[in-house]
Amino acid sequence: MIDPSKHKLREVIVKNRQEIAAGVFVFSYERVYSFTSGQVVAITVDLTDEPRLYSIASGENESEISILFNVLPEGKLTTQLANLSNGDKVFVSRPFGEFKGDEESAYWIATGTGIAPFVSMYYSGLGKDKIIIHGGRTLRSFYNQEVFQKAYGERYHRCCSGEKGEHVFNGRLTDFLKTQNNLPIDFKYYLCGSSEMVVETRDILIAKGIPFNQIIAEIYF
């Protein structure tokens, strides 16, 4: 049994739980701590299980903290989270982490729920001079796409590996990146997603001449 005080976990009430695509969910809880966009929280449903980390997907000044997650085939916690209802309780930590954005020109590159920190940065006022590349398996998996489409137009790229759609690149995000020439070497490149995505994307960027010290990655583990 985890000692909530030792892990600095706090009980919060689930609100606004929704399934936004098959196996992809978002829920929120009252913002009891301040945070910086890009930070993560540790979450558990059952105090017998170690908490796992999730990026915050809401702006710094919003009244609720939103969490985006997908159900993993062997993931006990994500299955528990998916079965939550509004009003249920979960245990959360204080936000922490250093995956921070800034106002400089940058690419935000994510797959699946890895878009969460960039959604948070956008709603925290750091969306200026950004280009977004988001990869997903289905057309419904592009969280916040309506807002990004309106805000960024042609600077918002969706790459869908499982379905075809209008104004959507049909293929993997890495395939899309391979088609991009003259990527600016003075931009920062923020990556967020699985280790496979980050490693492959980073290799492509480096092969295209981007200095490795311009690439900042957050990996889900």
């Binding site: 890009g38 922490f96 797959t111 699985s194 990655a217 957050e218």
Partner: protein
């Protein structure tokens, strides 16, 4: 599919035997056969009754796994390839050195951590090893009797697979297991703080931390974990523990040319490690394909070591071993053995 007895702790074996209505002392007999007498099959457990052997064989097997290949370096290092339960592969490096012999074991198939300098990270993550699969690398090693130490520095991040790593260390060190001194074991981590603190609390084995830069912003560029568990949080956690016992903490520092090899880095290392009784191991960078990183020359590495020693930090240079067979630090990988299905991506 039968469950493996090998890799279970005494407590888990007690659950097995009581579940089969055997007396609980049979569990201790099992640990003797499994971990001290190196039997290959349940039939070899000669002090068990025929009835108990028959009961165990219905649901269980010993579960040892032989290596499928071995490569031998010109310097005597051997790299063993072991299959895993999920039909993948891991590598272990046996490193003989004068009167010592170390085995570098893997804790995961692949790795999730994505460090820029590591070959294992390039294959992504294909699964955790069970405690039995970790211990099997040691137990099934042809040179088992020569081993003086084991380091968890092979494929994977041990503290991303904490429960199985802890269980494997327990089996290695418990009286009912191999009864090794914990001083023969070093577990290496990139600094997953909550798991590391639990390891420090429940184990007495040595700890090695992959640091590679004393500066947060630089470490972020080569180690994504820095975004989650930054250096100050990592070191504050380390400092909360008393390291003045026989237990050792060391910091691993791969040298990268024009990245982490200046006097500024020496000064910052001295500042942030002040108050921690530790040592630094400098490692040469072993280049991986398409890497933007390079190693300084030998003279610069020696000078870096000497200047750290002059600052009062005990610093050594680790000898590179097995580079010609890709067994050296950061080079282990079974990516070429992954089937197409394994590389199915989520993007």
């Amino acid at each position: 599919m039968k469950d493996n007895l090998f890799g279970k702790t005494l407590q888990e074996l007690e659950e097995v035997v009581t579940g089969e209505d055997m007396p609980s002392f049979v569990a201790k007999q099992l640990t003797d056969w499994l971990y001290k007498k190196h039997i290959q099959q349940i039939d070899d457990m000669r002090n068990l009754s025929k009835k108990n052997i028959s009961l165990l064989k219905k649901k269980y097997q010993v579960g040892l796994i032989k290596h499928t290949s071995v490569q031998v370096s010109v310097d005597g290092t051997k790299k063993y390839l072991f299959p895993t339960a999920n039909e993948k592969f891991i590598e272990s490096a046996f490193i003989p050195d004068k009167n010592r012999a170390t085995l570098c074991v893997s804790s995961q198939i692949g790795c999730k951590m994505g460090c820029l300098f590591c070959m294992t990270g390039k294959q992504g993550f294909q699964g955790h090893l069970s405690a039995g699969e970790i211990i099997n690398q040691i137990h099934s090693l042809p040179e088992f009797d020569e081993l003086t130490s084991v380091v968890y520095m092979g494929m994977g991040e041990p503290f991303d697979n904490l429960e199985n790593v802890l269980k494997s260390v327990e089996i290695l060190t418990a009286d009912w297991g191999y009864a090794w001194s914990p001083k023969r074991i070093t577990v290496s981590t990139i600094g997953i703080v909550p798991a590391m603190m639990r390891f420090i609390e429940v184990s007495k084995a040595h700890l090695a931390i992959s640091l590679h830069s004393p500066f947060e912003e630089d470490r972020k560029k080569i180690m994504p974990v820095e975004n989650v568990y930054p250096i100050p949080k990592l070191l504050d956690s380390i400092k909360s523990f008393d390291w003045n016992s026989q237990r050792r903490i060391s910091f691993e520092y791969i040298m990268f040319k024009d990245f982490n090899d200046t006097q500024k880095h020496i000064n910052e290392l001295a500042r942030i490690l002040n108050g921690i009784k530790c040592r630094i191991n400098l490692l040469r960078f072993h280049p991986i394909p398409d890497s933007p990183l390079a190693s300084p020359d030998e003279k610069e590495i020696v000078e870096f070591r000497d200047r750290l020693n002059a600052k009062g930090i005990v610093t050594t240079i680790r000898t590179s071993r097995g580079e010609d067979i890709f067994a050296a630090c950061g080079l282990l990988s079974t990516k070429k053995l992954l089937k197409e299905l394994d590389s199915e991506k989520d993007f």
